[in-house]
Amino acid sequence: MADLLKDPMVLREIIMDHYEYPRHHALTNGHGYLRAHMASESCIDDIQVEAKIEDGIVRDVNFEGVACTISTASTSIMTELVRDKTVEEAREIMKNYFAMINGDPYDEDLLEEAVAFAGVSKQANRIKCATIGWHGLEKLLAESEKKDD
């Protein structure tokens, strides 16, 4: 797996697959879900993210919206990565993901398929695309912790 994730062809396929068949790509609008509408970061991408966070664990994450390949695929991969993780684990994954996008050192084992977006750090105009869904989840995690206080 680790070797496969170094092959650009495989990484490209991962992005295309998550763009054409995004995972968890329907909001439940269910009870106990927090929601974030990420429409003001750019005037093209318009993404909604919802998450159910219980007892410090991310039970469910879904998203919906109109967006480019990078925002759709990066959010889709995120929904898989953080599911069933504790809030602290999810934060650690996020921290490493943002580090990767900013071109800083990161732990690739934590990011799994999300390493496909490492190249985005070289395309400054797409950094917003690669982080829009992740910033949505970041808001929800903060909101859930506020509720717990």
Partner: protein, 398 residues
């Protein structure tokens, strides 16, 4: 102008002229001349370089007046088309409109010619109405006639729309609007750089345009207004340079138009550059520019029509502006791939966010050309579009 500039290791093919344009050397020289030789504030200094700066600044008003055929007192320097449009919305419409009055727009308007009017409507109780457009964004005289009625007080419209490059029948609009006593605000941001503009012939009441979209420096723009209307307007900004006197009892006497609208130190070097840009365009000849762009337009649309993988939203567009999408590829992904091939275009909704109601898509790739583009640029675009697949778009990141 674009000689020697490369992007991603390829010669730059710049097709984002609807956003901004490159600057010819005389424009850059004019800005440098100000900084190197006559750096000073205008209308204040009792010394030689300040006097020279005054003269150079005021000269641009004459140049603009000649360029659009008006009196130089009718030329207001602004920071761009947006500030010119806001000046009229704030200074004229907000003051003169009342509840139930109608402001007439189209759904193809740029944010800068929509949002100021939305606010006027909110503050005065006026209503916004729209002239219906065809699915390719054209305005028929029939739809225009249907939209204009006695309640219309303002018609605010782009002479050339910024996504579809459609020419609107401005002269007809002015004639019909004036019959019901309405005032016409023309957004010339996409028309003035590309075609001969004659405000007397058009008979518009106000015209706004930007300097940077016509080879001039950023932060420059023009508001033209019929003098009797300018006289009735409030300035949006108050401050130094625009008042004649004021005292501690709050008695204020403003200067006369156009100076009353130019509070604060203006973009002097920009205005000098704009003067050079307009002279450069006039020397090329606006008719020559227009006919060159028409030739490019015909070639561009003929070549685009040969591509199976491209949807063209404005095949009957009037300008060298194409609004397209690559089938199955999000506009921003396609634009990034084109950039990797050296071709600069714009993706998204181009600030015309109501246009989705007309063309049925939220975002497009806009390829917009200027006089310095040529057929080889179209060829480069077409070559890049041919290989613009989802795989190649994602491949840009590896």
């Amino acid at each position: 102008m674009l000689q020697g500039i490369t992007m991603n290791g390829k010669p730059l093919v710049y097709l984002d002229n609807g956003a901004t344009t490159f600057k010819p050397q005389p424009v850059i020289d004019a800005v440098n001349y100000f900084y190197n030789n006559i750096n000073s504030n205008i209308h204040r200094g009792d010394y030689e370089i300040a006097f020279k700066a005054d003269q150079a600044y005021d000269h641009c008003r004459k140049t603009v007046a000649e360029f659009i055929n008006c009196d130089e007192r009718e030329v207001v320097f602004t920071y761009g088309a947006t500030s010119a449009l806001n000046t009229v919305a704030y200074g004229y419409a907000r003051k003169n409109l009342k509840e139930g009055d109608v402001i007439l727009l189209t759904r193809a308007e740029h944010a800068s010619n929509a949002l100021p009017w939305f606010r006027v409507a909110e503050e005065t109780g006026a209503k916004i109405e729209y002239i219906e457009l065809t699915p390719t964004g054209k305005m028929t005289l029939w739809n225009l006639r249907k939209a204009i009625h006695e309640g219309v007080r303002i018609v605010a419209i782009a002479a050339v729309t910024n996504v579809l490059g459609v020419k609107t029948p401005v002269r007809e609009i002015c004639r019909m609007a004036h019959k019901v006593g309405a005032v016409v605000m023309v957004d010339g941001a996409q028309s003035v750089p590309h075609t001969r503009t004659d405000v007397k012939d058009m008979d518009c009441d106000f015209l706004a345009f930007s300097g940077h979209k016509m080879c001039g420096p950023g932060g420059t723009g023009i508001l033209y207004g019929k003098y009797e209307l300018l006289e009735k307007m409030d300035p949006m900004l108050l401050g130094g340079g625009a008042n004649a006197r004021f005292d501690s009892k709050q008695n204020v006497i403003l200067k006369e138009a156009p100076i009353m609208f130019e509070a604060g130190t203006p973009n002097i070097e920009g205005v000098l550059g704009l003067d050079a840009a307009i002279q450069y365009l006039m020397k090329l000849g606006m008719d020559n520019i227009e006919s060159h762009e028409q030739e490019l337009r015909d070639y561009l649309f003929a070549e685009l029509a040969k591509l199976d993988n491209v949807t063209v939203y404005n095949p009957d567009g009037d300008s060298a502006i194409a609004a397209i999408n690559v089938k199955g590829v999000f506009s921003q992904d396609a634009a990034c791939y084109l950039a990797s091939q050296g071709v600069a275009v714009r993706s998204g909704n181009h600030c015309a966010k109501m246009l989705v109601d007309v063309i049925g898509t939220n975002d497009t790739i806009r390829c917009s050309m200027y006089f310095y583009n040529d057929k080889a640029d179209v060829d480069a675009l077409i070559r890049a579009l041919r290989t613009c697949t989802l795989e190649n778009c994602v491949g840009v990141f590896f």
